[in-house]
Subunit: 352 residues, 2 copies
């Protein structure tokens, strides 16, 4: 972590980027030295995550404002800490941008990211600015704290545990699908609930901390890969199966509207974008790759109502969607008519 | 921090990358969950740094092996922690590589980086793998620990303090200059001392910890921007001046040989690479931008000998090069003949 010579443009640029960021609690040495120094809380464990956004892959500047990119960059990392029941404390932001690009855009992305982190109690303590001739690349590393031995992980779910999610999984992916359906791609006509899910995702940190205080969550994961894929990750780590129930899935009119619109306009040319059959499109949006930053949890079945109240008080609707089962390979959905079907799933793979 | 669906190539690729890395002390949850969990040492402060390497700017694959790139990536971060007198503990590695590139090269870079970090006691606890169509981009974030309130920083040097460096600043830059002088560029004919300084830089963590235990260092910085530029950073942060003494500068025959070779072969066409006049070339190599990972320190003048012994016991030669002065703007060198001259300096700026 080094700020180059003050006689040169890079230093002035970096000083510009870090100026105005809020100072954090527990920060003994902030940006400007070889490294930052922080005072950790006694009797807490550290939790650390890192996420990278690559322009054109994780965000498109023709769809999202720089502010929204910055907020999503923060949200990706905050969501990982929420999934561990950790309180966000300190972050670093490393960005690689074209050497002769517009300086304003990275500055707005960084400040929006820092502001979104600060809203959840995390201060940017340092970073790195590099020039690179490819797409802009942003890497945030976020450090949080959790009371000793009280973190959540993907392990720990037991047969009989109730599976529940926050919010409405699938909305973010529905917003992108609608945006790409336009020519040229645009979020302008996307319904406000879906637009908000994508451009300004809710942060589940407070809800996670409230539920963690109850001690009722046995396993958790964030569903940034999509509900079905991350449910599978949780089941694999815990050695349990999962049976969802169609009747429990929360109604989501904006998502259904999006599915109707997309299905009604599906043509052979669009089949590469939305390969699902018309009747299953809403479920594909709900269970497939979506870039939502919601949580999926396995909860002590005797205490689901407590968890629901705690989450609601922290601003997050908690929806029970199914149960964990003994059969470790099970990933099914029980239909209203009693049929049991494999869960539809699809994930995003940068290297596929 | 998320590992995508196990059904896809990305997951297998990432699993391949993280397999075989050593487990770290104090790691409660390692790679594979939404975030890593670590147990910090009681009564210690945390120190965090982040550094990015961009292919073609921070390393050239035609000059350096992937192993050497990985070691330098580790060294850049380790050096920042050494400059704070912190013990390296945990790291994350985020890499962005072309979607259809050779998988072997990033794997070797990552493993070499992890191995170099492990040699200094730091475990890789997580990371991120993204596809990007530009040059490869590597960001390491390294977390260390230091006993409460015992970190070093750039502040704290006082007039009269002795200025000292580890090793032989300038050798890494001399290696690059010699390599670029060849056509095509090559490190093959670079003298071994210079090659080693560039391709396998010494780590000064142990030396820093040994000196920190004595409590004799009042300010420190790593000189990855070059000795003159980073001396200026230390002076600015501490509010002191600096007077170096030519007679104290350590003899460096390999550096002098490189200067002679380069100066003897200077032509008008090469003047863009090595603009310094022949007689000053060795000093430009020594004081200018060099990518060395050595330390510059301001030391209690009464205890320099103790610091020297401690550093030597930890494998680092400590060279006194001058003193801090009252005149905050002073950056001079006292020549053998008694003349006092401004210090030659030049730094590297990605955005110049």
């Amino acid at each position: 972590m080094k700020f180059p010579s003050a006689r040169h443009g890079e230093f002035a640029r970096l000083r510009g980027l870090i100026a105005g960021l809020p100072e954090g609690e527990g920060v003994l040495v902030g940006p400007g030295d070889d490294a930052a120094v922080m005072r950790p809380s006694p009797d807490h464990d550290l939790v650390v995550t890192t996420d990278t956004f690559v322009e054109g892959r994780h965000y498109r500047t023709d769809l999202l404002s720089p502010e929204a990119v910055g907020r999503r960059l923060a949200a990706a990392n905050l969501s990982d800490l929420a999934a561990m029941a950790a309180r966000p404390r300190w972050a670093t932001i490393a960005c690689t941008v074209p050497p002769r690009g517009d300086e304003g855009i990275p500055r707005v992305i960084e400040l929006a990211c820092a502001a979104a982190l600060a809203e959840q109690g995390a201060a940017v303590v340092g970073g790195n600015l590099s020039a690179g001739d490819g797409p802009s690349v942003w890497t945030v590393t976020l450090i949080g704290e959790v009371a000793k031995n009280r973190w959540w992980s993907r392990e720990g779910a037991r047969p009989g545990d109730v599976l529940a999610t926050t919010g409405h999984p699938g909305r973010s992916g529905a917003a992108i699908a609608l945006a790409l359906w336009h020519s040229p791609p645009s979020l302008e006509h996307v319904p406000p609930e879906l637009f908000a899910a994508y451009a300004r995702p809710e942060c589940r940190v407070e809800a996670a901390l409230a539920m963690a205080a109850l001690g009722v969550v046995r396993a958790a994961i964030d569903i940034s890969d999509g509900l079905a894929a991350d449910l599978a990750h949780l089941c694999e780590a815990s050695g349990v199966g999962a049976q969802l129930r169609e009747e429990l899935l929360p109604a989501d009119e904006p998502l259904l509207d999006a599915a109707r619109l997309l299905a009604g306009n599906l043509t052979r040319e669009r089949a590469d974008i939305i390969p699902a059959p018309e009747q299953g499109l809403a479920e594909h949006l709900r269970f497939g790759s979506s870039d939502d930053y919601e949580l999926l949890m396995a909860i002590d079945p005797a205490r689901v109502q407590e968890a629901r109240y705690a989450a609601a008080n922290a601003g997050a609707a908690l929806h029970v969607i199914g149960v964990c089962t003994e059969s470790a390979s099970e990933r099914t959905i029980l239909r209203r008519d009693g049929r049991q079907e494999p869960l539809p799933s699809r994930g995003y793979d940068h290297f596929a």
